[in-house]
């Protein structure tokens, strides 16, 4: 199975962090869940329901026109890894003590204030931790060992072989990344969409990264609008049952339609542009993305998403990330990006200057990173 390079913001720092959990093997875990591994083939709905936070009875959070109230400014940062580390076997949930230890270890590993290692690692730890989202060093309140809740082993399901066309696209992108990492981009097309300031964490499904993990939700009758901080876009989700737009209209953020199931907003998103950041490089023609938003209490939204793509994974998988309310004390601020994107000019002019000097630089497929994203 080939290792496919990926250039999206989809996977948070947490994927590197999970190695620390191995150090917890050998600890007593009286509250741990030691259930046997579930069979591999599992439908998304069964797993999601069994794992879902029970919200059968109506809760007190309602808008003045009667819809469940999801409004506020929310933060989704966490250090809990996307996938369950091998070291914890089938343990879904850590004990209080284990979670504290894991949180401390992960924070230590992820912290940009680390001074160990050589200059090659240090240069990428700039700027320092003060510029990062402090909540990204905290595990989820429920102490799960992975953000993936289905399949029950907490891992992304096996990949299926992809088409030659998709592999070609990924290889081309890998070449662009190699030039970029070496600081020698050919032109602006060697930058990814995030560096070019087209889209960032506003493409669903939402995953936390190192900073600005904030999303504002404003509702009106018939609509739920989600405005992530980067890059200042608003996702307008009708909840009145109207159909998606025509299949020929393709959008960077896809086209979303929502409906209420009890207290939960269920959103289906289709019509992604193929050149957008498709989650995990799945096939936009067959990717099926369903998100679920449930207001759990005054300070928490339970955010879950299920992805399904027979052209990419053997079966669907589901992720759960708790969102924490941060307003009014903290606010979301404008994230202008393209307007002052000096980096693109610096990078390109710098590459031309180095070429003029006769520098020959080999592409670098992967940089030695603490975590994959800046």
């Amino acid at each position: 199975m080939t290792c496919r390079p990926l250039t999206i913001l989809g996977i948070p720092a947490t994927v590197i962090a999970f190695g620390s959990l191995s150090l917890l093997v050998g600890q007593n875990s009286p509250t741990g869940n030691d259930s046997a591994p579930a069979p591999q083939k599992k439908t998304a709905t069964t797993a999601a329901t069994s794992q879902a936070v029970p919200t059968a009875k109506p809760n007190g959070f309602r808008t003045s026109w009667g819809d469940p109230d999801l409004q506020g400014v929310w933060n989704d940062a966490t250090s809990t890894p996307l996938q369950r580390p091998n070291g914890v076997a089938n343990k879904e949930v850590l004990s209080e003590e284990e979670a504290e230890q894991f949180q401390a270890q992960t924070a230590g590993r992820l912290s940009r204030d680390r001074r160990d290692g050589d200059a090659q690692v240090d240069v990428n730890r700039a700027y320092n931790e003060h510029w990062m989202d402090s909540r990204r060093l905290k595990v989820t309140a429920d102490h799960r060992t992975s953000l993936i809740v289905d399949p029950p082993d907490g891992k992304i399901p096996p990949l299926v072989p992809i088409s030659a066309e998709r592999q070609k696209m990924l290889n081309e992108r890998g070449a662009e990344v190699g030039r970029f990492n070496a600081g020698m981009p050919n032109n602006y097309r060697d930058f990814d969409l995030a560096v070019r300031c087209v889209i960032r964490t506003d493409v669903p499904p939402y995953m936390p990264i190192i900073y600005n993990n904030d999303l504002q939700i404003v509702q009106s009758p018939g609509y739920v609008v989600i405005a992530p901080e980067m890059i200042h876009s608003a996702r307008i989700i009708p909840v009145d049952g109207r159909p998606h737009i025509n299949k020929h209209l393709l959008l960077w953020l896809g086209d979303s339609r929502g409906h209420w199931e009890g207290n939960t907003l269920v959103v289906e998103t289709t019509n992604f542009r193929p050149d957008s950041n498709i989650f995990q490089d799945a096939d936009p023609k067959t990717l099926h993305l369903t998100e679920r938003f449930t207001r759990v209490d005054a300070k928490t939204i339970n955010y879950e998403y299920t992805v399904e793509d027979p052209h990419t994974w053997t079966h669907p998988w589901t992720v759960r990330i708790p969102w924490t309310r941060i307003d009014p004390g903290e606010q979301m601020y404008e994230y202008a990006c393209h307007e002052d994107n000096y980096d693109v000019s610096h990078f390109l002019q710098g590459a031309r200057e180095r070429e003029r000097r006769g520098e020959v630089v080999q592409p670098i497929p992967e940089l030695p990173l603490n975590e994959p994203l800046k």
Binding site: P5, Q27, V123, Y127, Y335, D340, E366
Partner: protein, 146 residues
């Protein structure tokens, strides 16, 4: 049942297993503008200078400093930092670092040799670290988790 084995041994064994695990999964290869792509690990710089301008902008804040060289000439450097939005939520405002302030910047210079560096550490003359969890002048530091 209490599992045995020392932490280090188990960790090392599992780490090896983890490496194998990751080969088969989707791993992001793009650094999305990792500093190591633009700045040179071999060009560590320590710049002592006076702040002339602070650009409190996204995607990166910049501090401009005039650095006095031994020959008396001034070099204009610009230092790259992160998103100001994070600092705003920590209570640090764009008035908190005023032009004229003397700072020492520890960082890595741009690969193309331009007078640009990424800011790793910023220290004030009294030894206090800027952007490191302690207040600057009268700007109160706000920890969102407290």
């Amino acid at each position: 049942m209490k599992p045995t084995g020392n932490k280090l041994g188990v960790g090392a064994a599992v780490a090896a297993g983890l490496m194998l695990f990751w080969m088969g999964a989707i791993v992001p290869a793009s650094a999305h503008h990792a500093f190591a792509a633009e700045y040179d690990a071999k060009k560590h710089v320590v710049l002592k200078g006076t702040v002339t301008k602070m650009e409190w902008i996204n995607p990166h804040a910049w501090i401009h400093i005039d650095v006095k060289k031994p020959d008396g000439n001034l070099e204009e450097w610009m230092i790259e930092f992160g998103t100001p939005n994070t600092l705003l939520r920590r209570g640090f405002t764009h008035d908190s670092l005023k032009p004229g302030t003397e700072i020492t910047v520890d960082g890595y210079q741009s690969k193309d040799g331009a007078l640009r560096a990424n800011g790793r550490d910023v220290t004030l003359p009294d030894g206090k670290k800027l952007f490191a969890g302690s207040p600057v002048a009268d700007a109160p530091y706000k920890d969102p988790d407290k």
